[in-house]
Amino acid sequence: MEQEKVVIEVNHICKQYKVLKKGEGIKGALKGLVTRESRLVPAVDDLSFQIKAGEIVGFIGPNGAGKSTTIKMMSGILTPTSGEILINGMDIQKKRKEVVRNIGVIFGQRSQLNWDLRLGESYELLRHIYQIDKAQYEETLDVMDQILGIKELLDKPVRQMSLGQRVKGDLVAAMLHSPDVLFLDEPTIGLDISSKYALRKFVKEINEKRKTTIILTTHDLADIEQLCDRLIIINHGHLMEDGNLSEIVNRIAPYKTLVVEYYDEYAPEHDKCELCFHEENVAKYRFGKKEITAARLIEELSAKAQIKDVSIEEAGIDDIIRVAYGQ
């Protein structure tokens, strides 16, 4: 594997926002006219990591955790309060114009297409902005047509498009200049199932076909499960976890859940596991993989009550999030 080249290097970035204090009522408003109190709120605090070429990295974290701020700093939109971000070895703050030539950006619910015009007009403008020559433009469009079927939309005014079609239009717009790195901030927010599917398929295929490095933030855990090789969990502006999905699961949520259906409502307790759910005949036991095996647990439970059916749930991303967010 030649996935060794580091594309993005984030070194000790911090970002603080200034938040104005506002008084209450008319008195507060009057006071606000003369004084100006503000405090600094850290959104990202000393974050460092590296991303290698061809990776698909998912950023998750609760609202206000700093993931959007981080992705916006990486794509050159926000200036870090301190620290540096190198993309292809270049500081994005110092060489913005050069760096952004090689990145593509998609922000959910925010389009870069011209609402009033045909989709093709927006692409034509991008072609001039990124100085893409005609042949290469056609070639990229061919590739995108295979993945998303974009060509039939080129002559359609954007305002007449469905949301799903607009999403496709935006995905292609971000890829026209064949960037090495693609940032997606909450790309699936508000999309219906088929559009989500198209988006995920697109991300997978451009990653495979074009070796595009992909960084995305999301609230949709299915995005992570289906797409990401690597997961970065951020909370309170700190990096909580960084690794691949199963590795993180094994480390911070090393347990499985046994779902048992009994013949009657009595569900026995067991001292090596936790009875975490019990309603009517169904009970769920969460057990550590090192504490006890599933076979043993079933055996010991069946000695205490008659079991009708069992199934085992692996710890998933929700469990990680529950642990990592401390909820």
Partner: protein, 270 residues
Amino acid sequence: MSRAGIRVYLQVYKTQIIRSMTYKFEVYGNILMQSIIMLASAYFWKALFKNSDTVKGVDVDTMLIYTVVSAMISVVLTCNVERRIMTSVDKGTIAIDMMRPVNVFGVFLAEDIAGITALVFQNMLPILVIGCLFIKLPTPAGPAHFALFLVSLFMAFWINWLIACMFGMIAFWTLNMDALIQVKKHLIRLLSGSIIPLWFFPAWLRNILEWLPFAYLYQLPLDLYIGKYPVSSAQCQRGLCVQLLWLVLLTMGFLFLQKRVTSKVMIQGG
């Protein structure tokens, strides 16, 4: 109107005052800009009067008072109602607004009066202070003139608000009104005497303007303030009568339009 209804309007009034005070930079920026514009006008007149003592029966000092008071009146004649209606229709929230138990136009009025209340302190007083310091103390012609000025200013406020409100209602029939709003704004600015008094206009134009409502926004209150005509003069009385006539006409027009608009919304749902 019920007690509860009044309470709603008062609540709107209070919130709106607070809201307009939170934009500190806007407040200071407005004061600065309006002062500059007022000073520029004052020097414009000073330059013109350099070689003449009185023109059209007015001397330079009166003209300076005119400038300061005109800037202060502009505060009373600010309103946001047309924009409010437009955005409300644009976003389609107007139907919900109109279903509420309080009259939506009453809410808009309360908001505008609140905005003006805030502006009296934020703009009018600073303008007065700056006007006194750098231009001239704007003393009214006399107590009777001042009393009539207040009456006329009160009517001017209503005329201005009703015009704006009815203008905003056009939004129920056509969508993009930006250009129309600009036309109205500039016509008022130029044909109301706010910058250049209508006495300087040629007679034929003046005769037309006397029958249009614009002159009753700035020109009449200003004439009364500076004492252009004696209190008992025919011009004075006729002016106030025509102003009252416009007020009545516009109120009737407003009530009629409000009915039309309400039934339109109820049928189409906005």
